[in-house]
Subunit: 204 residues, 2 copies
Amino acid sequence: MVLPIRRIILELPAWVGDWVVAHPLPQAATDRLSVDQTRMRWVIDLAQEQVARGSGGPFAAAIVDGNSGALVSVGVNVVEASHCALAHAEMVAMGLAQQGEDSFNLAASAHPNCMLYSSSEPCAMCYGALPWSGVGRLVCGAAAADAIAIGFDEGEKPADWIDALAQRGIAVTTDCCREQAVAMLQRYASSQGVIYNGGRYGSS
Amino acid sequence: MVLPIRRIILELPAWVGDWVVAHPLPQAATDRLSVDQTRMRWVIDLAQEQVARGSGGPFAAAIVDGNSGALVSVGVNVVEASHCALAHAEMVAMGLAQQGEDSFNLAASAHPNCMLYSSSEPCAMCYGALPWSGVGRLVCGAAAADAIAIGFDEGEKPADWIDALAQRGIAVTTDCCREQAVAMLQRYASSQGVIYNGGRYGSS
């Protein structure tokens, strides 16, 4: 048998690069928001742009250098467009950061203090990827329950997943701008966005 | 800021395509082995070839159509070569199968009864990816403890991960040719293969 393909390609939608140029990540706290909230609002805006353009699931993420404040990478969910269930926003952000830095371990890269901002709490896969990524901190917007409430499946993480990450040196902050993140998810749901769920139960 | 890269590329080592042509997956039970054992021995042979060539971590996987017995995809660990911690053997096999079938959900593809054979029990990330993949069955060679014994880190899966997959319609078989899988891992360790572990503790 000849293998049909030998490369997986996961690609950001074409508009994302232009959007990042047009909307630079703020380098300081703004509008009475903390630095974390300022960054999370930016990530939620990116997810909202994805919703408005219909280019994929309502999820976005960004990796920020916690020392310099520089944007290291962004990700949006491209599961449908890339025909690949691995392509959650957090996975895209982690993979782009790693390949952009030529390092599978961001902790050993030129950005050793990377922080992952995700518009929603990571699913079981993205949770499992965090310890291998070299990311040192996770900040979440919406909770898993919020994504589940509009029909997405989040998988089964260990009950003590936040402690498990903490023991690996990865600090977790939840509920950062959760209200804004939930509003974005609900706009997606009310616009009749596709709630794709892979696996044995098919898409809904 | 201009994004440094916008595509993640995960690529099999060049030798894998030739190896698969030269070593077709057996289409029936062989040498007093069951069908599962025959397939797992083949996956362990693929991992052993990876060890012999020094092209990456000692992990291989294959997705087989459980109805026809056809090989759908293979994966080997290309974390180091691809500068990407997502590139575990199971992730590569799942992603290649999905993109090869143009479907993020193998259960809805031309191969709806896909079985994933992995030379080692999946880590927390690969476990989390399984429900999204559309794979219907997982067969493992070495146990997580065996990979940990030679220095790899497997992450934290839920304690009841096998039941959690079963409840999603994904049957799990463990310890298939475990002895042979462990021997392969030990050959890697004794050849002083790199035990890379990403994350906050750096590589060991």
